[in-house]
């Protein structure tokens, strides 16, 4: 980290030996970074700001950058006109169940692949890994056929069951975490007469809390934002999830109808806020998860 303070000064001198070391260069760097950050965050601000605006604010051109006449009317109208609350419940139920499933089964399988020795372990592991590249579009059509044949359309089973174990990615992420734990711990527990499942629950799970947090956060986010599968397997308005409900509201309202744009923005805000809060609270795990999930082998 000492480097962190030395490098900028050094690079300034290298480029411009006469002037005072790169002050204006450093400023330029911050200007570029801040401009890009504002650009990236602007749509989120715009959604938030517009969700409080009255309908007439949407027909002003050029639009006001700052809040014009903020109120909660859009939210009230949206909640009274659509089953937003029910969609929120459905989304939460599905996301929480699937996250718990991914954490438990992913950790269980990841632990087995990392620490237990059994015939065919490497073969099975690589067979699983080799399917990571298969696009979801291949499996989604037959999955839909099967779920329909089972009579699961428009049920929680259809939303929850396929892929409940978190899939290969969850297992892989957990395996990476368990690998870093000392094997001696497991062997000592085994000598003490602990059962294999007991070792997993009492020794492994508590030690891999950071890993479980990373997996949990990413699975929750993926499920909260999931769209195509819930769109296909639900049909009644009360079984929709938030993302599908929002997309269909827009479709029902029609693009041209600017008068309800405020409600679309309010709904969008309600869908986005929980994930933004989760991100801000668990930032560390997000940044960690991106790095760990990417390490191959």
């Amino acid at each position: 980290m000492a480097q962190a303070t030395i490098r900028p000064a050094r690079r300034g001198r290298a480029l411009n030996p006469q002037a005072r070391p790169g002050n204006w260069l450093t400023i330029l760097v911050y200007v570029i970074l801040t401009a890009w950050a504002m650009l990236a965050l602007f749509p989120i601000y715009w959604m938030f700001k517009n969700s409080f605006e009255p309908a007439m604010a949407f027909t002003v051109f050029p639009p006001n950058l700052l809040p014009f006449n903020p109120s909660l009317d859009n939210y009230k109208l949206l909640l009274s006109r659509t089953p937003m609350a029910r969609w929120g419940f459905n989304t939460t139920l599905v996301s929480v169940t699937r996250t718990l499933g991914a954490i438990f089964f992913g950790a269980l399988a990841g632990y087995a692949f990392a620490k237990l020795k059994f015939l065919g372990r490497e073969v099975i592991f690589w067979a699983l890994m080799s399917t990571l590249m298969i696009p979801s579009f291949i499996t989604i059509i037959p999955q839909y056929q099967v779920v329909r044949a089972l009579g699961w359309i428009d049920s929680y089973a259809a939303l929850i069951v396929p892929g409940l174990t978190g899939g290969v990615w969850a297992m892989f992420l957990m395996r990476q975490f368990v690998k870093t734990l000392p094997t001696e711990l497991i062997e000592a527990a085994r000598i003490d007469g602990a059962s294999e499942f007991g070792i997993f629950v009492r020794i492994i799970l508590p030690l891999m809390k950071p890993g479980l947090a990373v997996l949990g956060i990413f699975t929750f986010m993926g499920n909260w934002n999931n769209f195509l599968w819930p769109l296909l397997v639900t049909s009644s308005i009360n079984m929709r999830v938030l993302s599908v409900g929002m997309a269909l509201i827009r479709g029902g309202i029609g693009e041209a109808n600017i008068l309800v744009m405020g409600q679309v923005m309010a709904g969008s805000t309600l869908v986005a806020i929980p994930m933004i809060v989760v991100f801000l609270v668990f930032q560390r795990y997000f940044l960690q998860g991106i790095t760990i999930g990417a390490i191959k082998g």
Partner: protein, 316 residues
């Protein structure tokens, strides 16, 4: 396990089959059977919802629905999909979209990573979080907000371009602009995870290399192009391949913002949207399955191609 299995294979050869089997049986006897129990739920889920489904998709791709029954029609779905100009239009759109988003997005991410790397930890975390935040928001929501930003009459983008004297544009309704608009949207919100990974990899480059380059009189730019970028090649390859695979399946933005349109041939019709459209709007499950398998083939070929390209450049 690794050691056990290697001794088992070493001590045997192909002609001594019984020994080989005995070796496997021995390894199996020594195996921790709980391993099988622990991986069983995942393997079961995998066998039912992935392996079986892939076989089902292959089977579907040779069939057609006739009077409520699936009938075997050989390669007809494939020939029809390949002869359909809409398929090639979607492929072309998807390639333009994917390559633009991945190349431009990765370029921007590389520059931004270089700019935030070696700032203080807090500064780094602040900017990384700002760049990553859009990625946690549902792509449906992002698409809804951008639809409003792109609005031809009251959208803010037209207000911004108006400052530069550009007349109002129908960003999503003009066949010449629609795909570019989707690309712009993807690049602006999409750099976060690349930047996190690139800065992490930059941290792994030994400082001595920069010092040596500096002693040799290399300029800041030379050090970036000759030291940083080559050493980041594995990370760049990873981001390129995963970015390609991910973006090639673009669907939600198209569904919400353009429905594949505007114009003919539809300007933002992508392979993912085509599959959805065939299967769930036109109820051509067989044709959609065939197209989804072609999508996989393209992804596979391109991933291998990219690995070879990068690997070839590594050997000099």
């Amino acid at each position: 396990m690794a050691r056990l299995s290697s001794t088992a294979t070493n001590s045997t050869s192909r002609r001594a089959n019984p020994n080989w089997l005995a070796g496997l049986a021995y390894v199996f006897k020594k195996s921790n059977k709980w391993g099988y129990v622990f991986i069983a739920p995942l393997v079961l889920d995998f066998l039912v919802f992935t392996v079986y489904m892939v076989f089902y998709a292959v089977q579907l791709s040779f069939q057609e629905m006739q009077a409520g029954q699936f009938v075997w029609i050989g390669l007809n779905n494939y020939t029809q999909v390949l002869q359909n100009p809409l398929t090639w239009n979607a492929m072309r759109n998807t390639f333009i979209y994917t390559l633009s988003v991945v190349v431009l997005g990765l370029g921007a991410a590389l520059v931004l990573s270089e700019l935030i790397f070696r700032r203080g930890t807090r500064t780094q975390v602040f900017y990384k979080s700002a760049f990553y935040l859009p990625a946690v928001v549902s792509s449906i929501v992002v698409a809804l907000v951008w639809t409003w930003i792109f609005n031809p009459f009251f959208g803010i983008l037209n207000a911004v371009t108006g400052i530069f004297g550009i007349p109002k544009q129908n960003w999503l309704g003009n066949p010449d602009l629609a795909l570019a608009s989707l690309i712009l949207m993807a690049i602006i919100g999409g750099g976060g995870s690349s930047i996190v990974l690139l800065t992490a990899s930059m941290g792994g480059i030994p400082t001595e290399l920069y010092d040596a380059a500096k002693i040799d009189g290399a300029s800041e730019w030379t050090r970036f192009t000759r030291v940083t970028v080559p050493l980041l090649r594995p990370t760049l390859l990873y981001l390129f391949v995963t970015g390609f695979i991910g973006n090639f399946q673009v669907f939600e933005q198209v569904y919400v913002m353009t429905s594949g349109g505007p114009g003919f041939p539809p300007a933002t019709d992508t392979v993912g949207f085509r599959i959805y459209d065939m299967a769930f709007r036109s109820v051509q499950f067989g044709g959609a399955a065939a197209l989804s398998l072609l999508l996989f083939l393209v992804i596979l070929v391109f991933s291998v191609f990219q690995f070879r390209l990068f690997a070839a450049e590594l050997e000099y």
